[in-house]
Subunit: 505 residues, 2 copies
């Protein structure tokens, strides 16, 4: 086969894989974002399993493997960078899959199936002991998998490859060292400086009817240029983005009557994810490159819209009067400045998903350090909950009163996602670096103040969004900003922003 034929065959199989991906996305959407009956779940998941088996056959098709490996050897003859990326991604998928013996992988998948269910009960019942054996087995598998995959430096690098290709422990250690040295003291300073009167922000829990929140969420999405004609806004228990196809990128939010800010920031967060996918180049879907460069790059866009834009005072200048008039009594006596301070309240708290912009990365640091230590064998699963609590005290100054509010709070480890957590913090840090360079080209906060997203939309579209998975995260960041990943922009952003909000010297 010549390289054209190889590419044509790979594209054909990619489209087939896309079709199964579409279906599994739609099944997920139907379960989480519509009122589909729970009684139907058994059969639904039975069918989803059958289809996953069919999809697996594509990935393990020997003809595909041959086409991919041969094409990979002729990379120099492939002119189109998107085709090269397609071959690169398939090669990685096939090679990584082949490195894990099939029986071990099957046993592992079965373990995860049970593990998630056991975790749910364990969390509910604050029962760390009953879950320990799963942690043990999952981390044992992960250690073994790291050896199978192979790595340079730290075994954790082998796992990072699944989530943030090119990222390493060596780089992450520098990143988290900055956070430890700069953000931990900043938090202590803020806690000391905080106004004695939390009553001042009680308005944030005034009730607002859900239909008004829904209406405002739609206004918000329009405002930031998420395209509702090529997407859907629905409600779900946990907000998420589901890019079914290029022109059908759906987002959800969650309305809480006495916490209207919850939906606002879920909507802007998911809206950011959604805009990223809506702006990817149309030709990427057929090459399997449409869902973004990595979890952290995706997260950089959601955090950009949620935090950097969405929690700035400039963003709210044009929007706040609209929200006031829509929400009526809830906000008539609250001025913009009070609202802005309220949505930037910093507080050391126990649960990652509820954390504010400043303390959030410290929660990630706890997890990253524990994952590393577990892989190195420096701590035992028996001591995991204790170690968690000690780090919470060290970085956030508070101690979880239970396993449920401590080590058992996240599903990630129970779902086998070891090495994923850093993506969240990296997302924030990428966003800050991108912001720094975007500000060199356009007056970002001036535009926010005018309620004009035209230039921001275009800049992010050109520099980040359109490229999808054509470039790996490292190269994408370097192309967009002219320098490789540099955590100093993030630390500087946090210090400047919260210094200002809290009037620190």
């Amino acid at each position: 086969m010549n390289v054209e034929k190889q590419l044509a065959y790979i594209k054909e199989q990619t489209m087939k894989k896309n079709a199964y991906g579409y279906v599994s996305g739609l099944i997920g959407w139907d379960s989480a974002a519509t009122n589909s009956p729970k009684m139907g779940y058994d059969k639904k998941y039975q069918y989803a399993g059958i289809l996953a088996g069919e999809e697996y056959k594509i990935t393990t098709d020997p003809a595909l493997k041959m086409a991919v490996l041969e094409a990979a050897q002729s990379m120099a003859d492939i002119e189109d960078v998107r085709d090269r990326a397609m071959v690169r991604e398939w090669k990685k998928t096939i090679e990584r899959m082949e490195k894990i013996p099939k029986e071990e992988y099957t046993a592992y998948v079965e373990l995860l199936g049970k593990s998630e269910m056991v975790w749910e009960t364990a969390k509910e019942e604050n029962d760390f002991d009953s879950f320990k054996t799963y942690y043990q087995q999952i981390f044992d598998y992960q250690k073994k998998f790291a050896e199978y995959y192979g790595y340079e430096g730290h075994p954790y690098n082998a796992l990072l490859e699944d989530f943030e290709p090119g990222m390493t422990v060596e780089k992450l250690d520098i990143f988290f060292k900055e956070l430890r040295e700069e953000v931990v003291p900043l938090l202590k300073q803020i806690i000391k400086a905080k106004a004695a009167n939390p009553e001042a922000f009680a308005f944030i829990n005034r009730p607002v009817a859900k239909d008004k929140q829904d209406q405002f969420s739609r206004q918000l999405l329009n405002h930031i240029k998420y395209d509702l004609e090529r997407g859907v806004l629905a409600e779900s228990e946990h907000p998420f983005t589901n890019g079914l196809t290029q022109h059908d990128v759906r987002v959800t939010t969650h309305y809480v009557e006495d916490n209207f800010a919850s939906a606002i920031f879920s909507t802007t967060h998911e809206g950011g994810h959604g805009i990223y996918e809506q702006q990817q180049d149309e030709t990427l879907e057929d090459r399997g490159l449409r869902n973004g460069a990595s979890a952290a790059i995706h997260e950089s866009q959601s955090r950009m819209y949620e935090n950097i834009f969405g929690r700035s005072i400039e963003f709210w200048k044009p929007l706040y009067p609209e929200m006031q008039s829509l929400f009526g009594d809830a906000l008539t006596d609250v001025d913009l400045e009070s609202y802005h301070r309220a949505i930037n309240m910093v507080e050391a708290s126990l649960v990652r998903v509820d954390a504010d912009e400043l303390t959030y990365p410290l929660h990630i640091m706890v997890r990253y350090e524990l994952e590393k230590a577990l892989l190195e064998g420096k701590i035992a699963i028996d001591d995991l909950s204790k170690a968690w609590n000690e780090k919470m005290v060290e970085y956030l100054g508070i101690e979880p009163p239970s396993h449920s509010l401590g080590v058992l709070q996240d599903v990630h480890w129970a779902a086998g996602l070891v090495g994923y957590f850093p993506s969240y913090a990296l997302g924030n840090a990428y966003a800050a670096q991108i912001l720094h360079y975007m500000k060199k080209d356009i007056d970002v906060f001036g535009d926010l103040e005018k309620g004009n997203f035209e230039r921001i939309h275009k800049w992010l579209g050109e520099k980040i969004h359109q490229h999808g998975l054509v470039y790996l995260p490292e190269e994408l960041i370097e192309r967009a900003t002219g320098e490789s990943f540099n955590p100093k922009y993030y630390v500087r952003y946090l210090k400047e922003k919260f210094g200002e909000v809290y009037n620190l010297a």
Copy 2:
């Protein structure tokens, strides 16, 4: 392979086919009953096409064919009637598929793809001429297919097999003769007897807010024992039922603000379809026997709930006060008897889907006679619109003023559904026959008057619903009622009911 192994293999392939069926159902639901973005349709249908290709591979798998044919030869050794039905259905599917040369079938499917689009425009623009060539080609194909399939008696019998297995022109002719001789004169009598004042029923177009109609639709579904915990009620342009799985049978309705009765009868109609699927035996899905015995049997259940129950005065005795209090001003000055007469108004009208209970089968008769004549070559496509109009005058006494309100009104022929129309009228007739025998066992209208669906639900469940596609329609009707299909019950039901409503001698 022994017969157990054959059955096991067939079941495995059946489940795989079910999985693809599930997906295509879900994709259909997502398009019609949610606000999924139109911009995403292109890709969605591209993926649906890829998956349909994968599904086709199951049906054409030589190993499946061998297992089915071998099992069919050992029918006597298969103890379970459900397994025998599974083998019977696969055998029919495979054999019918093989009778059509593949290239012809592919060309035909492509023709239909275009034809539906052209039909839509032709209907909009009242342009019969531009659509004639499609009618010609589609009916030519159907004639050829009938020859490929083979038949006894009339070629139409070969086509009926797809929709109402066992039904024949010979039986249908007797059925429609009864309608022609009994219902056509009855309609003329009613039109003569009708009160001169149509203003008396003007209340039926008073506005009722959609959310109230939605609330009442849910009450109605609960009332008739459709299980909302194992289904969904949503809104769509054209109401439909979508049985995704045994415990996830979804229905839709359509709310029109100034025509509240529209949603009421759509909801009871689809509710009837839904109840049929919800009550099928749990073990049928894995054998591919879960979607009912035939289109006409399915329709018999929807018409039972919509017309026989839903348009009876007994049904409304307990419900009408509830509806009055919910709909407020719209009904406060309307008594039950006026409402009952309004929902049973008979009027010769042009459009099948808007027809009342009495004139509905006459619309079907027009289509049936034309289909037969076309297959026999007794009329030419050029004369089809004229022939349609003549029959409308003969049976309903009115002449369509346009092709759009005449021959172009239904999508069926454009979609290749030749031989389907009789199912609608048969559904009504089956329902009347079933009712006759149900009344021997239980006081149907007494129960309706009490608002008690327990016994009706159980009777229909045992006699009809649970059996799914285990028995062919003919056998099912005979088992449920003790006699084979007999149109006299339907004609008698119509004469009695409308004689009473219109006080005919």
